[in-house]
């Protein structure tokens, strides 16, 4: 087996993880293929200097976060900081299956999921990244610390702060919605 085939196997084994992490970090399906390709090309270039002090998965998270950061910078440059979740390239949460719930609950849950995604995109880059790596990817503090090059204490602080901000924003949103519903009913 030659080197290219081996690397193709590496891509195949990790492509799901790279795609879903990039999707959650960037909040959009736009350029997702290109970004994922960039991640693997960077990995390929970095392999000769990869000393194996971490799992290749953890190393890939590090690269994926860097690629997402570059994408955020590019968007900021393009003045496209506002991400619409109603466009045809995002809104992945619309396709989540909830087989054990009735239609009304599904709609409610989907709306809530959409709200979480919106609020997630409003957090700082670092808070969003840590929340995604911890909750979605189920990475440990140590792995996140390695991926982001930060002390574990800082990771804990950002995680706590990010969750608090997310909760407050969603609580505020829910209160507003309930008030609006009360007003409409009266």
């Amino acid at each position: 087996m030659n080197t290219d085939l081996t690397f193709e196997d590496v891509i195949r084994d990790h492509q799901d993880m790279v795609f879903r992490t990039l999707l959650r970090l960037t909040g959009s399906r736009e350029h997702l293929d290109d970004l994922a390709q960039d991640v693997f090309l960077r990995l390929y270039r970095a392999l000769p200097s990869f000393r194996g002090e971490a799992l290749i998965t953890t190393y890939l998270y590090r690269i994926a976060v860097n690629v997402a950061q570059d994408e955020w910078k590019r968007r900021r440059r393009d003045r496209n900081t506002h991400i619409s979740l109603s466009d045809d390239v995002s809104g992945w949460e619309d396709r989540l299956p909830h087989p054990d719930r009735n239609a009304e609950q599904q709609i409610e849950e989907r709306e809530f999921q959409q709200s979480v995604e919106e609020q997630l995109q409003r957090l700082s880059q670092i808070e969003r990244t840590i929340l995604v790596l911890y909750h979605q990817e189920e990475r440990s503090y140590e792995q996140i610390a390695y991926a982001l090059g930060m002390p574990i204490g800082t990771i804990r602080t950002h995680l706590h702060r990010g969750r608090k901000k997310l909760r407050e924003a969603l609580q505020q949103r829910q209160t507003q919605q309930r008030r609006a519903a009360c007003t409409t009913n009266r």
Binding site: I11, F19, L23, R29, Y44, A181
Partner: protein
């Protein structure tokens, strides 16, 4: 039947606590929901086919630096000998000192490099 809208001002502390816990659980559930992005068919093969060729490393070292050092040492030594045969002059004495310093530096450098005196 779907829940009626709740007036938060009339809620008991227990009810508020219950709502808070419920919200926490829903947030965690939403965060832990793994998106399922569409991965194009043959993505791995396409990326692998676009990998840049690795730079080839020559198996035989060239030692250009070593040769340059040896040539410089010989040239410096010859220059020192030529200067030593000249009658004493202040300017030449200064040049001789500089060349001698260069010769010593080159000798130390090549010794460190060749015999690993590091």
């Amino acid at each position: 039947m779907h829940d009626q809208p709740i007036d938060q001002n009339n809620l008991s502390p227990t009810m508020m606590e219950h709502l808070d816990q419920n919200l926490d659980q829903r947030i965690l559930r939403a965060l832990e929901t793994v998106p399922q992005p569409h991965i194009p068919t043959g993505f791995a093969a396409r990326v692998a086919s676009q990998l840049p060729a690795r730079p080839t490393v020559s198996p035989t070292p060239t030692h250009y630096g070593q040769r340059a050092m040896l040539i410089a040492m010989v040239v410096t030594l010859v220059a020192l000998l030529v200067l030593a045969l000249q009658p004493a002059a202040h300017a030449l004495g200064l040049l001789e000192t500089l060349l001698f310093a260069e010769f010593v530096a080159l000798t130390v450098w090549i010794s460190v490099w060749r015999y690993g005196l590091r």
